[in-house]
């Protein structure tokens, strides 16, 4: 991983802003979908695709690429938007989200977009798949390169028992090539995670299960990138980065409100959201003003 310069941080901030704008445009065009999670994870995705991942958007099946499994498939607007901005496919295609025959299915589906590492949607099974990938990669050590398997998860999906089956198996097999990143935004469909089914003390849970734990501000690029760097250095066991994020980040009226978990903005709300994102909340004049 390259070192992080001030210039690169500015670049990443700009990419995250572009990704958030695309997310709003996609959701309003689709007329359904999830708003809060994708906006909240835009910074983590920008950091991954524009700094951390070893990948080649022009050769998506490059065998030595890092693998990124999106376990909480419902935040796919941020995955699609980031992949498009990274050069995997045209940004214009983003507006086909959730439309008939679109490659950008409502939840990720490899049949339609084979460059995805996994189809997902039903919660709690991504980490298991990442464990399998990490085991498979380790079997090939010697004939392949050092690669990392990243699994992006939501906090709500930790309600699923299977998540914990995967957690114990990753620790058993000491999967140093596995890095889970949890979107700790504290919301799920029915409310706040600690009301629906309390998860805290989350970092202690992972520690006691034998994982290396990083807990960070998920909107701070140096923090994200340094945490991944430390996780990569832990070679004798799996790592989890608990990224504390603000659901709906970047759109003032969506931030921290669980009602935006599973709904898109309407046209008026989208206009307001796009204005905020384009002007950085009034700090700069929009090109559309």
């Amino acid at each position: 991983m390259q070192s992080l310069t001030d210039e690169k941080i500015k670049f990443l901030e700009e990419k995250a802003r572009e990704i958030r704008i695309s997310i709003i445009e996609m959701l309003v065009s689709a007329g359904s979908g999830h708003s809060a999670g994708p906006l909240g994870m835009a910074d983590v995705f920008a950091a991954l695709y524009f700094h951390i991942l070893r990948h080649d958007p022009k050769v998506p099946t490059w065998p030595s690429r890092d693998r990124l499994v999106l376990s909480n498939g419902h935040i796919c607007p941020v995955l699609y938007a980031t992949m498009a901005h990274a050069g995997y496919f045209p940004v214009e295609e983003l507006l086909t989200l959730r439309k008939f025959k679109s490659r950008l299915q409502g939840h990720p589906h490899r049949d339609f977009l084979p460059m995805l590492e996994s189809s997902s949607g039903p919660l709690g099974s991504g980490l298991s798949q990442a464990v399998g990938m990490a085991l498979g990669d380790r079997m090939d050590k010697g004939k392949a390169n050092e690669k990392f398997i990243y699994c992006l998860m939501s906090d709500g999906e930790l309600d699923e028992g299977q998540s914990w089956e995967a957690v114990v198996s990753a620790a058993k097999y000491r999967l140093g090539n596995l890095i889970a990143i949890i979107d700790r935004n504290n919301i799920q469909i029915d409310g706040y995670t600690e009301d629906v089914m309390p998860l805290e003390p989350l970092s202690h849970k992972f520690e006691s299960f034998g994982w290396h734990v990083e807990e960070i501000d998920g909107h701070n690029f140096p923090a994200i990138i340094e945490a991944v760097g430390r996780a990569q250095a832990v070679f004798d066991g799996p790592s989890v980065i608990i990224a504390r994020t603000i659901p709906g980040k970047g759109v003032s009226f969506m931030e921290r409100d669980f009602h935006w978990h599973g709904i898109p903005p309407d046209k008026e709300q989208a206009k307001k959201a796009l204005h905020e994102l384009r002007t950085l909340g009034g700090q700069i004049r929009s090109e559309h003003q």
Partner: protein, 329 residues
């Protein structure tokens, strides 16, 4: 008459016919395919010996993964290994895999288009004393309904070995149904086996009734055919080891040459072999059709023979069903 071209076990109708558990064939087949292909890996959910994966574990410890009593993780970890080019075989009891982990099999294996072989052992009521919780009699229904899934139900350990080896080359999800109990050996190494092909084991040409059977009950079907011969009733027995895709051509041939069929399976009547045959025949050549299988009930403790009799899957039931089917012509 036994179909000689099938090269079946010559001692088939001897009282002392060899009896071997069908699951043993899986263990032998996995070991053989593991020796041939270094990408083959094995995963188990705390039942390595009783599913016979221990043979593979002992030979290839570095390619074996003990997942513990966690069947959902078992299925999805296998999906991830497949994504990295491995060919995972996963085993547990059929009740738990594909029972407990059906959605993980659907989404992370079938929907994800991953080549994973799911071996479900201890299927059917013949598990016996363990009781109803452990008797998978819905497994063919829940796997048959999944797109991209091949479903194989071998009739003996030799066919199970062949199916296990063949599954490594199929490229898609495969469910192989295995049974615990010692089962009469019907076939030999020379008996033809091909995924997707049913084989006529008994009778030829025009007959009075076609018995279409799968799994260990193929043996009872053959014995019933012999008994019917004594009663001057000509029966044909079709071994359907691949439940999905069903061999529509052979099933239709049996219906055409016999005019009535009886399906025989150690499974709920809904959704298994009988349903697959009915779906094929109702489109291609409808004939009177009687069903042998469990009728919308759960199992219970008992010996395999007691349970097969109790749930209407004994030889006398098959025989009566044949006569009933003929009577409906």
């Amino acid at each position: 008459m036994i179909n000689l071209s099938q090269k079946l076990n010559p001692k088939l109708f001897d009282k002392k016919v060899d009896q071997v558990p069908i699951r043993n064939g899986f263990g032998d087949g996995l070991l053989a395919t593991g020796e041939k292909n270094p990408d083959v890996v094995g995963l188990c959910a705390d039942l390595t010996e009783s599913t016979k994966m221990n043979l593979f574990r002992e030979k290839f410890p570095e390619r074996f993964f003990e997942i513990g009593v966690a069947e959902q993780n078992l299925a999805s970890v296998a999906s991830g290994l497949s994504a990295m080019g491995k060919i995972p075989y996963i085993t547990s009891y059929a009740m738990f895999s594909p029972g407990r982990n059906w959605e993980q099999i659907r989404t992370t294996i079938c929907y994800n288009n991953r080549h994973v072989i799911i071996a479900g052992s201890h299927a059917g009521v013949s598990v016996g004393p363990d009781g109803g919780t452990h008797q998978a009699i819905e497994d063919m229904a829940i796997t048959r309904v999944l797109p991209r899934m091949t479903v194989i139900s071998p009739c003996d350990h030799i066919e199970a070995r062949k199916a296990t080896i063949a599954a490594a080359d199929l490229g898609n999800a495969v469910y192989i149904r295995l049974a615990r109990e010692k089962t009469p050996v019907i076939t030999t190494d020379e008996t033809p086996f091909e995924v997707g092909k049913a084989q006529v084991y008994y009778g030829s040409g025009s007959c009075d009734v076609g018995i279409i059977a799968t799994g260990a009950l193929v043996y009872k079907a053959l014995k019933v055919a012999e008994e019917l011969k004594k009663q001057k009733i000509r029966a044909k027995v079709l071994n359907v080891s691949t439940i999905k895709p069903i061999d529509t051509e052979k099933v239709t041939d049996v219906a055409k040459s016999c005019g009535a069929v009886v399906t025989v399976e150690e499974h709920q009547i809904s959704g298994g072999l009988g349903s697959a045959v009915a779906e094929a025949l109702s489109q291609h050549f409808p004939v009177p059709h009687e069903f042998i299988g469990v009728r919308d009930q759960f199992g219970q403790s008992g010996t395999p023979d007691e349970l097969l009799e109790h749930y209407g899957m004994g030889e006398s039931h098959i025989l009566e069903a044949c006569k009933k089917a003929i009577g409906r012509k």
